[in-house]
Symmetry: C2
Subunit: 735 residues, 2 copies
């Protein structure tokens, strides 16, 4: 193998006008090949013409002010559900925007309310006939006639958005005073498309030194509805992956033309739940997502073609306005993007970026951003901060993913001037970049070794939401924690949906299926479990020797007398309270914190598993279910043989070294591959080993902020090697 | 008022042959007027002819052995669901009784399986066509053809019961070896009726000295299905109030004739849940209960008439075979019983006994029973026991109910000889009986004072299950604990069903409605909340000034985006996990364990409420909801004004002096009667005051095992009186 140049390339540096000397010094020290602007920074001609590739950001839908604010009918909009009002008399008036933030929303009166809106009696669940309500645009109200006292009413109405949410958030968070409120235009309107393409062409002409055009991102932001009372209910609704903010009468008409049926406001409002990515989606909403995705590809492609026409590269930032972009979609390649950039806190986000096909370049934006304070207001690059330690801690989180999957570039963002007083930070980043380039060179040699079986994660979304759930980590969603564990393990993981499973069965080579989440969620599967084929396919899969690992409420679907559709497979079920009169099988309680078993072998003795807020009310079906840990008679960890296969149940999950190891062992056990466990394994759970067979390199990482020693078992499954690792450290061994 | 004779009468003593002298001495000391036999004891002629009224027990359905065992076709039966079997091939065989206790059950092959049984594919939820399965009586199996591999199948079949459950329980618990297994005959069979009436008449002739015939109870036991593995799953299913064990082809045919529609096995099996009293019942099952109740009244009346024909009194014991008897039913009087006897552990059971109309005499059987050991095997009347302390503790539990509601008699059960070595016990019972007779005399003068508003408890069962849920106290059912608190409070409490509410609205005088229980249960209401009238009636009730107190998951019915139908009224709702993307209103967290408020005024400072295993995931709707206590941002205690009325929410409940006071105050606050709170109230929460206006007596009881002092506020709401009470003590004051 050709030794890689570890000092140079694959790095995007944030430049800063006024700090030209620093910019160029650090560009050299850190081996940058590209210099970028950032939100709030500019590049001076001195930097732009320094010979580095120049990378500039553009956000199209916010770009055409004040045209946007002068054309309210061309703004983005969405359905809102008015806050419920309880009728006292036969006539009830609802103020549509009561409770919502008036600077974000204005009622769309221009498109016929009678055509697009709906009024619901939420007590009966039925729609109120259109003849029974009337709008009053002056007062901003709807008056409903024939209301039943004691019943609760809501109006689904269209609201135009006056203030683009990222602009709004930054403006209010940073007290920007009278700085302009940027509005986001609706890219589906022909007039808007004309404006945007003209703007983009102008911008491309003006940015003659720019090599990389970074879109932030395409057109639609994730859903974020603000309340009037910012102190107590700022976020009425927010979801990183929801398409609520793409809707308009034009979109609905085009949808109907294409799909042959009409969506209603309630398809979007859904009783006030909207269509959170965390809940199992309806077929109709999935159709709508497909429709928007196609539109974003079509119009996005026109923008990207323009970039290419000017001999520039088009990159997309996967963080804010990515709705409809869907980097995991098989159609993502149709955009023609050259690069995908993901801001990462976690290893699963590294895997998410690496997972996207259809771009040549996968780039990470690392934390800490070069800002005075961190995300929670803690000091970073200022008095009291320790940016080097922050960088180390962010790095060990992300690095677990980087050793498992190839990433092409990394970069930083923010105000470069802030790093000037921190020479140790400058040195640390220099070393970090060498580490990154070395790992990249190993990946270039070939894929790292993985376990001799494949693992599939089964969710309602399948591959579309692979290596994420809905954006950044959210506490309380077990699958995020599971993904974070998986992201650093030597496993071949794929993501399948229930539709995939029904259409094609369990994918070839998959020996273990993970189903992790709470009842009703997209992660457990919700209504998708009502298809009996799902239960039959998975039950047979295990009967014939496959394995399942369930977390929380796997396969949950409320049925009389049963919650888990795979209860027979797991050898247990959850009582949601209806089985008070049904006896519970008594099981042998483990002595101590947990019972000895292959899967618990690396847990620290005497410490009960910490699965965060886990599920209770679990009961077992019989003596074949072995309970490895329990609390208040509810199993928390159990294993069960079913047919020729095996099932493992965990009542919850949290990302810790202990649980990562537990999950890793559970997967081996469920796959009946315990005999292969020791191959390329590292004994110390705070360390992980990755072997690159082509490069013949063994990489051992220390995921802890303390010095660690470990013993790595080599590829023969027998020979061991002792390794010492400094805090946050890495060891590269020939093997 | 005539001073009552406190030394004599209203007491049933258990006599014991061989201990004639003791029996007669204690009959005198304790002022007995009646002497009874007990299970396992007999009365000698010396006792029988001593001049006391004689009370003898009889259990009809167990009385005709060996006839019962020789006529299997005349035994009681029930539907069982076979344990589920997962198909591996296109043919699947299920052993019907696998997992069930073979000494209790035998398959009923004699009544056409194809007519009465059903086979279900539990994966699809659909019935398997009758042509697709065949029985094999020799092997005890059903073979199903065309099964789908991976699907789960069960058979609903009729099983005859070979061993009556109380006989079985006592036999196995006490290791009775080869003593005979009593079988229970089916009273709906004409041949059985003939046998039973002949037996009863013979018995009445033979028991010429018996004055009181105590039935144990009528014909049908509560449901109790035993498993084969007694160590690990003895109770496959058990419910104190379920009618599962009354069914037979004859009953189903008669039902169809009467109600005009046919019930199926699945109406009884219900996916293996059966029809637990704790779950909201179906309309069909309610019809069936009505049918059985009518039958039990009809045939029961014939038995009671026979008793009366022999100049004896007929009492019924309300503990085991009371299914179909329903002492709270408006039709209960039709039996013609002279007395009702209830064994009591708790105050709510005292109220339950007192609540029954249609009998002249309400009698309690007190604990401890005169057995060597208590219910959990702890010593009572033997080395290491302290029966006097036990008696005191049982008495203070029951006495709370006795001061609130009139009871006519009390009694004991068991082996009288056991009390001989415990003279302090003999003395304590003598004093206890005087206390009872004094309280009875106060009730005779007129009802005790109650708060100036009525309270209704709303459940699926309404008055039919007033002052109980399903038999004795069961942990994990909030309403039991609520009832136990209510049982000792100076309140006029009634019980209404959803049907009552829809038919007649909120009853006159009711100012507060309690709805307490978990989603889906009969106590919260389950599917009864799907009738929008229920929500409308209660919402309007509060709008116009009424009050509601909700515990756990009041008004719960799963709907998109909402769980509590009365969410607007309570000002809060529970997120069952689907609202991850919906923002939660931030509320002011109480400083310390709880916020100061009228309802928390008597809680011990700094101690968070103990509501046992309470509900989490509660969120509030806005600033009008005042959170008085919370945990992990989930309100545990909250108050909310709605319209002119008020709502109180408690996330759980447990019977403690603190919670009893909290509930008491919550009811006053919800009724907007805080100004009246002090009237006849006792400051010390371990004490309670009851005022008998006609007798002008103020009774203050100490519910604690420690000496207590308190201050009672008199009827003017202002004057106070200090009271000192010994442990377990009572004070009677003129007022």
């Amino acid at each position: 193998m050709e030794p890689a140049d570890l000092t140079q390339g694959d790095f995007t540096l944030p430049g800063e006008a006024g700090y030209e000397q620093l910019t160029l010094r650090l560009a050299k020290k850190w081996g940058a090949d590209t210099i970028r602007d950032s939100d709030g920074t500019q590049l001076s001609p001195e930097i732009v013409q320094s010979g580095y590739a120049i990378y500039s950001t553009v956000c199209l839908v916010r770009s055409i002010q004040p045209w946007a604010r002068e054309h309210h009918d061309q703004l983005q909009q969405n359905f809102l559900m008015s806050f419920p009002v309880v009728a006292e008399k036969a006539t009830t008036t609802i103020t549509l925007l009561a409770g919502y933030y008036a600077e974000q929303f204005t009622v769309n009166w221009q498109d016929s309310p009678k055509q697009w809106w709906q009024v619901f009696d939420r007590t009966t669940g039925k729609e109120v006939a259109k003849a029974r309500w009337a709008v009053n645009p002056k007062k901003g109200t709807v008056t409903i006639h024939g209301t039943v006292p004691g019943h609760k009413y809501t109006v689904n109405f269209l609201a135009l958005r006056l203030w683009e949410e990222i602009s709004m958030y930054n403006h209010l968070t940073n007290n920007w005073g009278d700085r302009e409120h940027l509005a986001a235009v609706d890219p589906m309107q022909p007039a808007v498309q004309k404006q945007l393409l003209a703007f983009l062409e102008r911008w491309l002409v003006e940015h003659k030194d720019t090599k990389v055009v970074r879109f932030t991102s395409m057109f639609y932001n994730f859903s974020w509805f603000w309340g009037a009372d910012h102190a107590r209910l700022r976020d009425v609704y927010s979801d990183w992956g929801d398409y609520e903010m793409t809707v308009s009468p034009r979109a609905l008409k085009l949808f109907e033309k294409k799909f042959g049926y009409r969506l209603t406001s309630e398809d979007f409002v859904n009783g006030g739940l909207y269509n959170s990515t965390h809940n199992a989606p309806s077929r109709r909403y999935c159709d709508y997502m497909e429709f928007i995705h196609e539109f974003v590809i079509e119009f996005g492609r026109r923008c990207i073609d323009l970039v290419h026409k000017y001999q520039k590269l088009a990159y997309v930032f996967y963080d804010d306005h990515w709705v409809g972009v869907e980097p995991n979609s098989p159609r993502f390649a149709e955009f023609g993007f050259d690069g995908l950039i993901k801001c990462v806190f976690n290893a699963f986000e590294v895997r998410l970026c690496a997972h996207s096909t259809g771009v040549k370049t996968h780039e990470l934006r690392l934390h800490p951003y070069l800002f005075p304070t961190g995300l929670k207001g803690e000091p970073t690059f200022k008095e009291g901060g320790n940016p080097t330690l922050d960088a180390k801690n962010f790095w060990i989180d992300a690095r677990r993913g980087l050793v498992r999957a190839p990433i092409d570039r990394i970069g930083l963002g923010g105000y470069l001037s802030l790093v000037e007083p921190f020479p140790d930070f400058q040195d640390y980043i220099e070393g970090l970049l060498k580490e990154f380039r070395l790992l990249k060179s190993f990946h270039a040699s070939g894929q790292p070794w993985v376990a001799p079986f494949k693992v599939a994660v089964l969710t309602a979304w399948g591959n579309l939401r692979a290596w994420t759930c809905s954006g950044h980590f959210t506490p309380g969603v077990e699958l995020y924690a599971v993904l974070e564990s998986l992201a650093g393990l030597a496993l071949d993981v794929q993501f399948i949906s229930f539709d995939d499973l029904v259409a094609e069965g369990v994918p070839p080579g998959v020996k273990v299926i993970i189903n992790a989440g709470r009842a009703g969620t997209a992660w457990s599967g919700g209504h998708f479990w009502s298809n009996p084929e799902v239960e039959a396919i998975l039950t047979q899969f295990v009967q014939k020797g496959g394995g399942v690992v369930g977390v929380g409420e796997p396969s949950a679907l409320a049925q009389p007398g049963q919650l888990f559709k795979l209860a027979q497979v797991f050898g247990l079920d959850r009582d949601s309270g209806e089985r008070l009169a049904n006896g519970k099988f008594k099981f042998a309680k483990p002595e101590g914190a947990f019972a000895p078993h292959f899967i618990t072998a690396d847990l620290p003795a005497g410490v009960a598993p910490d699965f965060a807020k886990d599920v209770d009310g679990i009961y077992v079906h019989g003596p074949d279910t072995q309970v490895l840990a329990e609390r208040d008679n509810s199993p928390r960890l159990a294993v069960h043989g079913f047919g020729k296969g095996r099932a493992v149940y965990l009542s919850g999950f949290k990302f810790t070294p202990e649980n990562t190891r537990l999950l890793h062992r559970a997967l081996y056990w469920a796959a009946a591959k315990e005999a292969k466990w020791s191959v390329w394994s590292s004994a110390n759970i705070r360390t992980e080993a990755t072997y690159f067979p082509k490069a013949r390199k063994l990489v051992v990482i220390n995921n802890a902020g303390t010095d660690e020693t470990t013993t790595v078992t080599l590829g023969d499954g027998a020979t061991t090697q002792a390794v010492k690792l400094p805090a946050h450290g890495i060891a590269i061994l020939d093997a």
